[in-house]
Each structure stands twice: as C-alpha cells, then as structure tokens.
C-alpha cells in the first residue's frame, strides 16, 4: 500500500506527519518504507537518522555529438522542443542543462552521429532506521529538473507493507510525479487564508488525477476553521486535527519526533493510521 503526504503550501507539516506516521506504523509491527520525495529539500532523514548503506547516482541521458561523423545538417536542433541543441554554421552545440533526455535528436540524426552523454540529476540513498526502511533523493545543486530523480525513487518502491511518500510542496510536475499511482493521498493543511488557497489548488489537481484523498488539519484551533469549512462543503474527509502547540514546533526544530516527546501525540497518529487504513478498506470494498 502506498500513501502520499502532500500539501500545496510549504511548511504545513508534511514531514512531521510523514515521519511520525512512519514511526507509529513501524511500532505497531507494520513493514514500513519511508520515501522522501522532496528531493530539492529533503528533511525526513533529520528525524529518522537512518544509516544510508546504498547510494546510486541518477543520471539523464543527454546527446553527445560525434564531431567527426556529424555533417552539420541541423536536423537534431530542428526536432528538439527544449532548445537543448543549436546548429550554428554547420556545427552542433549542445546545452545539456536544457535537455529532457527524450532522445528525439538521436532518432532524427541521419548519420547516427549522436551518442549517449550523461548529466547527473542527483543521488538516491537507501538504508534503514529504527523506524523501518528509508530512502531519499538529493538533487544536485543547480539541477533544474527534479522529476527524473523522483521517478527513480518511485521505481525502487515495492507494493509490500506500507510505503509513505513525503512529497514536495506545490502543485506542479514534481508533485504529480510523486503522487501518481499511490493508493491514497493525505493533504496536510494549515487553517490560514494562505493554507486554504494553496490546498484548493492541490484538491483540484487530485480530482483531475482521480486520486482519493483526505485532509489533516495542522495547527488546528478548533473545528470551525477555514479548512474544516471548505472540507465540509466539498465533502472531503478530515482524518485528523493536530492542535496548535508551540511545543510541537520546538520538538520538531531539534529533529525529534513529537510522538516520542509529547504525551498524547502518539495516540493522534495511531488514530490517523487507522483512519487511513479504514479509508483504503472502504475503497477496496466498493
């Protein structure tokens, strides 16, 4: 079973929910895989402190022009939709940072003058922690595209046990890559005007992608906040409310898990875990 923890707005508590939920599930005997898909700014490892035993470099295949074969016809540059090749005075120049690795240039080249080159996107690191299996990606600084790295992470996931995917913020391509194919999405939202506006965008996205989802209201100050009202109108289940508490922010700031340090927080996450299991069972029955 795969669940994604997402939010439109950053800093609403995705990582707090992912890490505490993974730890609670591991404690209850489930086989847990925590996958940090926020490859631009991964933070789960700070809380789980895994030993990262395996590391693989993820690359994108980009064109390498074989100069002695190239006739400078420019067909490769004509088909490239990303302006990653230019043909200037019968010489082909490549801009590897713009390349999406589609291979259209190789197909178009009549001389077979394009070989494989490689651009490093980042690394995938895997290992285990006290709270189960762990995996994350770290994007290379200066790399614009996170999608291939998130794709590499998702290729390494299994259908065994419980996989929790901590997603990047926002609602564009990296988020789509992270949530695609999961069984359930948990949206973490904070009850502020910014929180609501950003959640609405992700709700639209999940409806388009046809993925089932529920909401965790973080820093909740009661049941009548803007998020709860929106969810009531749009028939979106609220899975949990985590009360506003400066103490949770303080605990998290030191990289500790709130379930270990604050009385009652573990019970909250036990409830969240069973709510998610309940929702997925409901769907299987239907």
């Amino acid at each position: 079973m795969k669940i994604a923890i997402a939010s439109g707005k950053g800093g609403t508590g995705k990582t707090t929910v992912s890490t505490n939920l993974a730890a609670i599930a591991a404690r209850s005997g489930e086989t847990v895989y925590l996958v940090d898909c926020d490859v631009e700014e991964p933070n789960c490892h700070l809380f789980m402190q895994p030993s990262l035993e395996r590391k693989s470099t993820i690359t994108l295949t980009v064109p390498r022009i074989l100069e002695d074969i190239c006739t400078g016809c420019g067909d490769c540059a004509k088909v490239c939709q990303f302006h990653a090749l230019a043909c200037i005075q019968k010489r082909v120049v490549t801009f590897p940072d713009l390349c999406h690795g589609c291979g259209a240039c190789t197909i178009a080249c009549p001389e077979n003058a394009i070989a494989d080159g490689f651009r490093e996107i980042g690394v995938v690191e895997e290992g285990t922690s006290n709270h189960g299996n762990f995996m994350h990606g770290r994007m290379r600084i200066g790399e614009p595209m996170s999608k291939p790295l998130i794709h590499a992470l998702k290729e390494r996931t299994t259908t065994n046990g419980l996989t929790i995917l901590d997603c990047p913020p926002g609602s564009s391509c990296p988020v789509i890559e992270a949530v695609s194919g999961v069984d359930y999405v948990v949206l973490v939202a904070e009850p502020t005007p910014f929180g609501l506006s950003d959640m609405e965008i992700v709700v639209e996205l999940l409806r388009v992608l046809d993925l089932p989802f529920g909401v965790v209201v973080n820093r909740s100050q009661g049941a009548d906040d803007v998020i709860s009202k929106y969810c009531a109108i749009h028939d979106i289940p609220i899975l949990l409310r985590i009360p506003e508490a400066r103490r949770i922010a303080e605990i998290s700031s030191n990289g500790c898990l709130a379930i270990d340090e604050i009385d009652g927080v573990d019970a909250l996450f036990v409830r969240l875990l069973s709510a998610i299991h309940g929702k997925i069972e409901e769907m299987t029955v239907q």
Binding site: G8, K9, G10, G11, T12, T15, D38, E40, E41, N43, L46, T61, V79, Q81, F82, H100, G101, C102, G103, A104, I107, A108, M139, I141, G142, E143, P144, M145, S146, P168, P169, G170, S171, S172, C173, P174, I176, S180, E190, T192, P193, F194, S197, D198, I201, E204, L205, V208, L209, R246, A249, E250, S252, S253, N254, G255
Partner: protein, 303 residues
C-alpha cells in the same frame, strides 16, 4: 521597453524550505517600500494576492511547450511510439478503431511534449499541439503595480512562467519609472527557483531555527552561490529555538552572509492574513518593528 535598459533594483525573497514566512515578509516589505513593483513568482501556490487585494488591469494567456495528441482512427497499434517514449507516457491500451483492437493512448500528465513519438509513428497518427499552461496578470495594488500568475492545474513549465512574470515586472518598472522590484519566490531549489533568482540584485533567504531550516538554508545558499547572486539571511520565528538560531548565525558568519534580521514567533502573521493585509500594516508590535528593522538592513545591503 527592453528589460536590459531597466535600471530597477530587484530583490527576491526565497527560502528553500517552505512555510518560513516568505509571502508575509514580501507583503510587509512591499508595504514599507511604498513605491515598488511586486511580482509573485510562486506560480504553483501564489498567495500574495490574498494580502495585496489586486485590481486586475490585464490578463494574458500562458502558452508554453507542447503535448502529443493521437488521432486514434489512424493508429495501427504497432507500439513504436510507446517503445520510444522515455517518459512512460504512451500505452497500448486505447480503444479499438476497426483496424486494430487496441490503439495507443497518450497520458498527458506524463507527456513532456518532446515529439519523439511523432518521429517514429509509421502512420503519422501523432501530432504536437501547443499547451495552454495558465494565465498571468498585471494588477494595481495599494503597494504599486503587481505581476502575478496562475499555473493551470497539472501543468508544466513553471520556470518559464516565472521568467515571464519577472520580465513583465521589469518592463512595468521601466515604463512607470519605479526603481524597485520585490519578488516573492517559490520554495525548493529547482527550475522555478532558478528562474526566480538568476540575475537578481539581492536575494533574501528566509529561514527558521530548526534542523530542517538549517539544512535547507545550506542548500539554497549553495544555489545562490552557484548562480553568483548576492544573498542575505533573515531568521523568522527565531525564538522557537535559540540554539538553532545561534547555529544559523555562526553558519552565516562562516559563509560571510549578513543576517539582516531576526523576527520573533508571533500569531499576528496569520491574523494579518485573515485581515487581508501585511504584518506591518496590521500591527506595530515587536515582531512588526523587527520586520521594519529587517527591511532597513535589506535596503542597506542592496546599496
């Protein structure tokens, strides 16, 4: 109206980690600067409009990139396109068309619009079409003109949209002879962030005193160094964890990045949002004073 001749100074507020208070600070800076152009570069979660109450002047379509479309009736079900696609976007599970039982179906969420499939299709059944990826707007606000955008649901090309927003903000500054441009940036370090910071005069890195905040600050500073953009640091909610705040200050000294401000944790950040205004307009309390002082230091750093 070339952007090259625009002399306005440009400040970009980013954070690496999300939710550190970028938008609240940008709105406050815009209120304090009085005469400036503002740009919301967080195009997939834009929030600045919620506190600046924009009056729309102009709306433009954002067309960028392409996506592949198949004419099912021409498909011969050979699967060449599916085998060629590097994005796993074409599947031989589409409806039958009389000639073949299964045709190729294109998953437009996965399609990157490269056109490799169009090159290999023997039946010429696939064509590339323009993508309508969203809209961008020019508005009037009480702080000055504002450029903002909205990426269409499930769209790509957020970096290109950011580039359009910044370029049009610079043009506006030039036209109206406004000397300052303040941009609210997206979280992360990827393509929309790179599009937001390249060529800026100053980047304000908003961080918070936590292990996560520090980790992300380190990465975003590597990014601004990589693109050679001058940066300053602002520590929001500094009193949540004073040890982590000290660690950030040490980090800043070691990397010779000035800390331009420390702002205390204060619920007025969300109260101001609820009143549709910036923190400095909402209150004159201690946190508000700290933002004012931060802004003075930002201007000093801008030179």
């Amino acid at each position: 109206m070339s952007e090259q001749i625009c002399k306005a100074k440009e400040i970009v507020v980013i954070s690496g980690k999300g939710g550190t208070g970028k938008t609240s600070l940008t709105a406050s800076f815009a209120a304090l600067a009085k005469d400036n152009v503002i740009a919301d570069c967080d195009v997939d979660a834009p929030d600045l409009y919620l506190v600046s109450e924009p009056r729309l002047l102009q709306k433009e379509e954002f067309v960028a990139g392409k996506s592949a479309h198949i004419q099912t009736e021409l498909c011969i079900g050979c699967g060449e396109c599916s085998a060629t696609c590097n994005f796993d976007a074409i599947h031989l599970d589409g409806p039958g068309n009389g000639g073949v039982e299964k045709t190729c179906r294109i998953d437009n969420f996965a399609c990157e619009g490269c056109g490799a499939c169009t090159l290999v299709c023997p039946a010429k059944a696939i064509e590339l079409e323009d993508n309508h990826c969203g809209e961008w707007f020019i508005s009037e606000t009480r702080f000055g003109p504002m450029v903002h955008a909205r990426l269409a649901v499930a769209s790509e090309n957020s970096g290109k949209l950011v580039t359009i927003v910044r370029r049009s903000a610079r043009c506006l500054a030039h036209e109206r002879e406004i000397g300052l441009l303040i941009c609210d940036g997206p979280p992360g370090i990827g393509c929309p962030v790179i599009a937001s910071v390249t060529g800026a005069d100053l980047v304000v890195l908003v961080t918070e005193p936590s292990l996560s905040g520090r980790h992300d600050l380190n990465r975003i500073l590597e990014l601004t160094n990589h693109f050679r953009v001058p940066a300053v640091i602002c520590i929001n909610k500094y009193d949540i964890n004073l040890e982590q705040t000290e660690a950030i200050e040490r980090f800043a000294r070691e990397h010779q990045v000035p800390v331009v401000g420390k702002i205390q944790y204060d619920p007025i950040f969300s109260h101001a949002q609820a009143m549709k205004c910036s923190v400095v307009e909402y209150s004159g309390n201690a946190a508000s004073q700290q933002i004012r002082s931060t802004w003075r230091h930002v201007l000093y750093a801008l030179g």
